[in-house]
Amino acid sequence: MADSPQRIDRPLSPHLQIYRPLFTMMMSIVHRITGVGLYFGMAILVWWLLAAATSPSAYATFAAVAGSPIGLLVLFGFTWALLHHALGGIRHFIWDFIHGFGPERVLLAKATLAGSVVLTVVVWIIGLALKG
């Protein structure tokens, strides 16, 4: 009301902390978190390309950081985030065509998680095998 004497603290709509965590719900949150991670991870990609465009010493600096234990861990995490977000995106396409809302939704979520881990390991095994 325009003439209300004071603002009433109305109840807010229920938010995340109200609900018992569910697997599909956590997967939805992880999809968003991986998206945000990939967003900032794109800076690493640009650093790589700019270093290659700049000079041998700039590229050596990038290679040293990327090849360090922390660098490799970040790149491994980036790979997993990319594959998790990609498989989550496929799940979104399935939903867009009005499938996957039944009991199979949990199976789809589990397949997304398992697939992201397996594919990440496979990509790194291939990469390390080819590069020694």
Partner: protein, 138 residues
Amino acid sequence: MSTPHSGPAPARTTMRTPLGRVRGLGAAKSGTEHFFTQRLTGAANLLLSIAFIIIVISVAGQSYAAARATLGHPLVAVIILLTLLSVTTHMRIGMQVVIEDYVHTEGLKVLLIVANTFFSIAVALAGAFAVLKISLGG
């Protein structure tokens, strides 16, 4: 409306102009572009990411000269340019949704959305410039 002069004019049931009805957007002035673009770039990202992972694996561990030769190959350069275009479009929309979901202070929200646009375009342009410089020589 197929026989416009055969009877009394149909009663107007809406205040919207014919052009407004065709556009179908309403007061928000925009509709499903973000939704559709996010699907379009998402599908492109699926294909481009596969190619991109192969490129990264092949360049990883290479010498500076070999890495530049790979990145400068026309096919590789075009794939990276397409990836930059599709990914930065996708990530800009995605981050805008996140900002709009969690930041409720109007000024800060607008500031972050502008910063999001700046960052996304900077990533796209810097990456594209680097690839073009390597590829075109110099």
